[in-house]
């Protein structure tokens, strides 16, 4: 097992704190992170020196360079899915998330929150990781992996076998979130031409509002196909140009 670097963890925590836009003095940052003021100063000056932080009036802010870096994350998939999941969120009147593989898990790549009159909405922040079997989307990903991966997962968690089988058979999965919150998820895979999971899209609703959520399955499936088609078109063009 590789050892975790506490310095790297502090660096990420510092970036997260600064990302909220509230200006803090190094002393405040040190207090919130539980670090010495000199350690925080060192982190700040290294981040600033590499151009990832900028010094602003009364504190620091993330630099534009950070945004430019972030924008390079799976741009083709995010681009083709951007409007699709926002339209879906408005049509379903619930939050919709786009997830991609992250090792054996799935991670949220984009989140679309509808403009509705509901006072309570389910949320799953971008960057949140769903462990294998930790939610409908992660199970949908697992259901479309090879036999060896599915066997490994069910050996560890025999209780997942039934949900995986259901996701494979139906092509979608509806379940209460095992994460503890009173949220129900409806997930469908975005499959490429070889039936491999490119991503998944999931509707998240507070369980009290989730009755009949499966009526959105045809809409989800059609948006998933649209995303896969547009993505294939852009990557195919890319491949063709490389060949010529």
């Amino acid at each position: 097992m590789t050892e975790i670097s506490s310095t790297v963890v502090s660096c990420v925590q510092l970036l997260e704190l600064i990302s909220d836009g509230r200006r803090r003095r190094p002393r405040d940052l040190a207090e919130e992170l539980g670090l010495s003021r000199s350690s925080v100063q060192r982190l700040l000056s290294t981040l600033e020196g590499r151009g990832l932080l900028a010094r602003a009036e009364a504190g620091h802010v993330l630099s534009t360079r950070m945004r430019v870096m972030a924008d390079r994350i799976m741009p083709a998939l995010r681009g083709v899915a951007f409007n699709a999941i926002r339209e879906l969120a408005d049509d379903c009147r619930e939050t919709v998330v786009l997830l991609v593989d992250d090792g054996p898990d799935a991670v949220v790549l984009d989140e679309a929150v509808p403009t509705t009159e509901h006072s309570v909405r389910a949320r799953l922040a971008v960057g949140t990781r769903q462990a294998a079997g930790g939610g409908a989307a992660a199970i949908v990903h697992l259901a479309h992996r090879d036999v060896a991966a599915r066997t490994r997962a069910t050996r560890r968690r025999p209780d997942l076998a039934e949900a995986i089988a259901r996701a494979r058979e139906q092509g979608w999965l509806l379940m209460r979130s095992p994460a503890g919150a009173e949220v129900t998820e409806l997930a469908v895979p975005v499959l490429d031409e070889e039936e491999r999971v490119l991503a998944s899209i999931a509707v998240l609703a507070p369980t009290v509002r989730a009755a009949g959520l499966e009526r959105h399955v045809p809409l989800l499936v059609s948006h998933a196909r649209r995303i896969a088609r547009l993505h294939a078109r852009s990557t195919r063009r890319d491949d063709e140009t490389r060949v010529h």
């Binding site: 670097s5 000199s38 350690s39 602003a56 630099s63 870096m69 083709a76 063009r237």
Partner: protein, 241 residues
């Protein structure tokens, strides 16, 4: 000890910057590019992955993780906030609607619209809507000023013949006038250029007439774009990385 902290943080940042340039890499490749031991690279990468700053691909390589997107999302709102006063002044001065756009995932999004007062009949853009860069004047202006490799990939993916030449003209002229935007209006766009990292957005004026814009309008638009770039620069006195 102090040197250790600074060195680890610096290596961590170099790993992130390297992945932003290259795309997915194995731990061995990251170690080689940073000229550090495999053990040191593994420790940094595994920690960054655990913290959500990296994502592991199917072939066990590592790429930047979506947590970085969430962290930097507020920067877009801040960009719109900084641009607001210059945009409002330009809308008042020209009597035209003004749009601020930023690039997002190989496309472009309108972040903010400023309208002249009283607004009257106008085209109202849906902010936050994604469009391909090659479909609109603001996108083409941004694309023309993007760094080489990224621009080339988007141009290649678009499959549009003649696009490289069109982008070359945009770079030479420093603006783009498009009379035939899909919704029938005319748009005049200029890039917003950050002197340290290049293009960060586009500023556009919208008009109903399909006639070429006068030099006065172009001058006012370019001046507003310069003001916005200056405001971004002032709020962050970044040192070059």
């Amino acid at each position: 000890m102090a040197t250790d902290i600074a060195q680890t943080v610096d290596r961590t940042l170099l790993a992130l910057l390297h992945l932003a340039d290259t795309g997915p890499q194995s731990i061995r490749q990251i170690a080689a590019s940073l000229a550090i031991s495999l053990t040191a690279a593994r420790r940094i990468v595994v920690t960054l992955h655990r913290e959500g700053m990296l994502r592991r691909t199917e072939d066990r390589r590592y790429d930047l993780g979506p947590r970085l997107i969430r962290m930097t999302d507020p920067l877009l709102a801040r960009f719109a906030e900084l641009a607001g006063p210059s945009m409002a002044a330009l809308a008042r001065h020209t009597g035209l609607s003004v749009l601020l756009s930023a690039f997002a995932a190989d496309g472009v999004c309108v972040l903010h619209q400023a309208d002249p007062a009283p607004p009257g009949l106008r085209l109202d853009y849906r902010t936050g809507r994604w469009r391909p860069m090659t479909d609109c004047a603001d996108g083409l202006v941004i694309l023309a000023h993007l760094s080489g490799a990224r621009r080339e990939r988007i141009v290649r993916d678009s499959g549009r013949p003649g696009l490289p030449q069109q982008l070359e003209r945009v770079r030479e002229q420093g603006h783009l006038f498009a009379a035939g935007e899909p919704w029938g209006a005319a748009a005049l766009s200029v890039p917003i250029l950050d002197t340290r990292i290049g293009v960060i957005g586009a500023l556009t004026v919208l008009g109903a007439a399909a006639e070429a814009p006068g030099a006065g309008l172009l001058h006012a638009l370019s001046a507003a774009s310069g003001e916005i770039a200056g405001a971004v620069l002032r709020q962050s006195s970044e040192r070059a990385g």
